[in-house]
């Protein structure tokens, strides 16, 4: 028997495949395989040839050999996925399509036919995910899944499992308090003081409207500090698109401003504002100009929650905290953990204004609150200067 030249045979096999002559292709690749010198592409060629001939078992065996030599070959992965899809193994197929998509280089580096194959893989994944989701939701509704508070966390967990939401973690810039639950928006009905603040909405808004008559009352929210590197708040520094009118700022009353809003301050009387020298509380009207967007960012410490009382809310305003987006409603307080990545926007052609203040995190004990306060005072004592603080 003459020695086999695998390159010649492989070329012949590939040419035969291109012509659609699956029989000759199979013969060529099988000869290489039988000689024990088949590489990943010869096995893949054999798999395609066998598939062309309708011999599914042989095709599967060949593609498995190919993948064992080259586990990230895109064509082999998709072929294997197609095989599993045809045999009714949706989950298996989905995992191979997904792996092919993950292993693929950027589309620009791929030949057109492979690009379209990957597009097909993507569509198959989406179809399976949709089927899976429909199936689960149907089963769960049958098991008593209802909308509403009791099921909120569970529905959230389902979205995470289905890949529709990402898990967000607290990312405070300066101080992390451990073992606290990772909650994005808190339930305002858990806070007894909320109804009192909400009841004062009309009075607070009236005071705000008086202040707004003066053009220069509000100052940019993000102020440049010559002692510090510029903030990463793309474009928000010294930008009047996002501006504030402080009644309390970093633990100090702003007397002239506070005098103009007595009812607003009175409404704060029942709120568990944090009192930390040089830091808290801050109470302010926060103004977002038409079209403005506060880019995603995370806050400083996770020992507080940020509360908003929306006062003037045009349409198309929103706040995203972690994986949850909500629309502000005038007169309805919400509170959120600002150490979860968050962003806000005003997509309307009118100004949006909220009353913003901060409270202790409800999970902290009285002893813990006092220690956190002492610790921040100690840090200021140690450094001999006021902190660069922001709400």
């Amino acid at each position: 028997m003459p020695p086999i030249d695998p390159r010649v045979l492989a070329q012949a096999g590939a040419d035969a495949l291109r012509r659609g002559d699956a029989r000759l292709a199979r013969e060529s690749f099988e000869t290489i395989a039988k000689a024990g010198i088949a590489d990943a592409s010869s096995w893949l060629g054999l798999a395609f040839a066998c598939r062309g001939l309708g011999d599914k078992a042989a095709a599967l065996a060949a593609v498995d050999r190919s993948l064992s030599l080259e586990p990230r070959n895109l064509r082999a992965l998709i072929l294997k996925a197609d095989h599993l899809a045809e045999s009714g193994d949706a989950r298996g197929a989905s995992s191979f399509y997904q792996f092919a998509l993950q292993a693929a280089p950027p589309a620009g580096q791929l030949p057109a036919d492979l690009r379209s194959e990957l597009g097909r893989a993507q569509a198959m994944c989406a179809r399976y995910a949709g089927q899976f989701e429909d199936f689960l939701r149907e089963r769960l509704v049958g098991n008593g899944l209802v909308e509403g508070r009791t099921a909120a966390r569970f529905r959230h967990s389902l979205d995470i499992m289905l890949g529709k939401r990402k898990i967000h973690f607290q990312e405070p810039h300066t101080y992390y308090f451990p073992e606290l639950p990772q909650i994005q928006f808190y339930d305002s009905s858990d806070f007894s003081w909320v109804s009192g603040v909400e009841a004062a909405t009309a009075d607070i808004r009236a005071e705000l409207l008086e202040v707004m008559k003066e053009d220069s009352a509000f100052t940019p929210y993000v102020q440049g500090d010559p002692r510090r590197p510029r903030k990463e708040q793309s474009g928000m520094q010294d930008n009047p698109d996002w501006s504030a009118f402080y009644l309390w700022k970093n633990g100090e009353p702003v007397t002239a401003n506070a005098a103009r809003c007595p009812k607003t301050l009175a409404a704060m009387a029942g709120v568990p504002l944090a009192r930390v020298a040089n830091r808290s509380p801050s109470v302010l009207f926060s103004l977002l100009r038409p079209g403005a967007r506060i880019p995603p960012h995370t806050g400083l410490v996770n020992t507080r929650l940020i509360c908003h009382l929306p006062l003037i809310v045009p349409p198309n305003c929103g706040l995203r905290v972690g994986n949850e987006t909500r629309t502000p409603v005038e007169g309805r307080v919400w509170m959120f953990d600002d150490t979860m990545e968050h962003e806000a926007w005003n997509g309307s052609d009118r100004t949006r204004v909220i009353l913003l203040f901060e409270i202790w995190r409800p999970e902290l004990t009285e002893a813990e609150r006092r220690l956190v306060t002492s610790m921040f005072e100690a840090i200021d004592t140690y450094s001999g200067q006021k902190p660069a603080w922001e709400i």
Partner: protein
């Protein structure tokens, strides 16, 4: 003087000659050409730059200064231009001017490593310790790993790191002392979380999150070890420790029913489990496995099964509950890992614990004590080791996460059934 633009051909010719001369090592000729260019066009940017750097390297700071100053006057839009100026002022010991140049550089690029190092050193020289520490910290934070740092900067980066570390240490020591009296006011309170927050703040400890490998339930607190007092149902189980241990010893005597704890098939990633996979070094005698009672094993441990009924075990068909005797051979380490889902917690009842065994969850390392159970969140990184020459045995079982409401538990059970039905019984995830 003629308009320099009209004399561009002459400038270009001089520049070409200067470059050729410099490359050939004819420095005097090169410098003569560049100087000539500046006579024609005092604002010729490339020439100012090249001459400024030559003056600087040659130690002629006043000449370097006038070139670098001219550059920022003409342009000044690039942080590097201000850095050159700042370094020159530093060498001239003009601190106020250096400070201005550094601020300009960092305003253009707040992450510029050289700018941050210059700022830190200047503040240190001025005795502004705390601001210097912050700047050293910022430099340490933006610096790439040492091997990627330019060799000329390595010493400075190492110093910045050491300085930031030392400052954190000093701050930590100060806070410890300062908080001592405050902590004293709260004798009897559990202040573990607060103490850990200070340790994380000053870099003495790392922060750990709950990282479920498969199914993450949101809004739960990442608590490494739960408070024993939260689980009164553990009382009868702990009280039954001797009976449970006796049943285990009878089982052990027969040497039947034990299987390796980790049994991954060969064709999936083994990651940290390569060494313990299918190994008798870590084995289990299962009572509940993947949600099913292991009848023949359970029958050999009737008291254990009776006591186990006190535990609020989860119900995820095909996955939980789980309960087993876990046997760790001498000198064996279970590598750090995180569990599959935070809807359950894991309970350990230590039965046989030789000296030299330890268990870590997150920042918390503890020793097993026979008969003293603990409950932990296995989605927080944890590891175990038996450093002794005897076996270590623990009864392990899972329980519902106590912060899940009854409707949430019911829905999780339904979800698991749904997953099983969808996959036709094939295992969707291990638990």
């Amino acid at each position: 003087m003629q308009n320099p633009a009209e004399r561009l051909p002459e400038i270009n010719a001089l520049e070409a000659q200067a470059v050729r001369a410099a490359q050939a090592g004819r420095d005097q000729e090169a410098v003569r050409c560049w100087k000539r260019i500046l006579e024609i066009d005092p604002d010729h940017f490339r020439t100012l730059n090249v001459l400024g750097q030559r003056y600087f390297r040659g130690g002629d700071m006043p000449s370097a200064l006038s070139a670098f100053r001219r550059i920022v006057e003409i342009d000044g839009t690039n942080a590097q231009q201000w850095i050159h100026l700042a370094i020159t002022y530093r060498n001239l010991e003009d601190d106020p001017a250096q400070e201005v140049a550094i601020t300009r550089a960092l305003s253009l690029d707040p992450m510029d490593l050289v700018g941050l190092i210059l700022r830190a050193n200047l503040l240190k020289k001025q005795g502004r310790t705390h601001e210097a520490a912050r700047a050293f910290g910022a430099a340490a934070a933006v610096a790439p790993p040492t091997e990627q740092v330019h060799p000329e900067l390595r010493a400075a980066v190492t110093e910045a790191r050491a300085h930031a570390e030392q400052y954190n240490k000093d701050c930590g020591a100060f806070l410890d002392q300062f908080l001592e009296s405050h902590l004293g006011q709260f004798a009897g309170e559990n202040l573990k979380r607060f103490r850990e927050s200070v340790d994380i703040l000053v870099g003495r400890k790392k922060r750990y999150d709950s990282r479920s490998m498969i199914y993450h339930f949101p809004n739960l607190a990442p608590i490494p070890f739960f408070d024993r007092a939260d689980f009164p149902w553990l009382d009868p189980i702990e009280a039954g420790t001797d009976a449970i241990r006796n049943e285990f010893l009878e089982v052990l005597a027969t040497e039947e029913g034990f299987t390796p704890y980790i049994t991954y098939p060969p064709d999936v990633p083994h990651n940290q489990w390569a060494e313990l996979n299918n190994s008798p070094r870590w084995s289990a005698f299962h009572l509940y496995k993947m949600g099913k009672l292991v009848t023949e094993n359970a029958a050999r441990c009737p008291t254990t099964m009776q006591l186990l009924a006190h535990a609020p075990q989860p119900d995820q068909p095909g996955r939980t509950p789980a309960a087993m005797f876990s046997l760790l051979k001498p000198r064996t380490r279970i590598p750090a890992h995180t569990g599959v889902t935070n809807v359950r917690l894991v309970t350990h009842l230590p039965l046989i614990v030789p000296e030299g065994c330890e268990y870590r969850v997150g920042n918390d390392t503890r020793q097993w004590v026979p008969g003293r159970a603990w409950v932990f969140d296995d989605t927080i990184e944890h590891e175990a080791w038996n450093g002794s020459d005897k076996i270590r045995v623990v009864l392990i079982f899972d329980i519902w996460h106590p912060h899940l409401t009854p409707p949430e538990r019911a829905m999780i059970t339904a979800l698991t059934s749904g997953l099983n039905e969808f996959t036709g019984g094939a295992i969707g995830f291990d638990a």
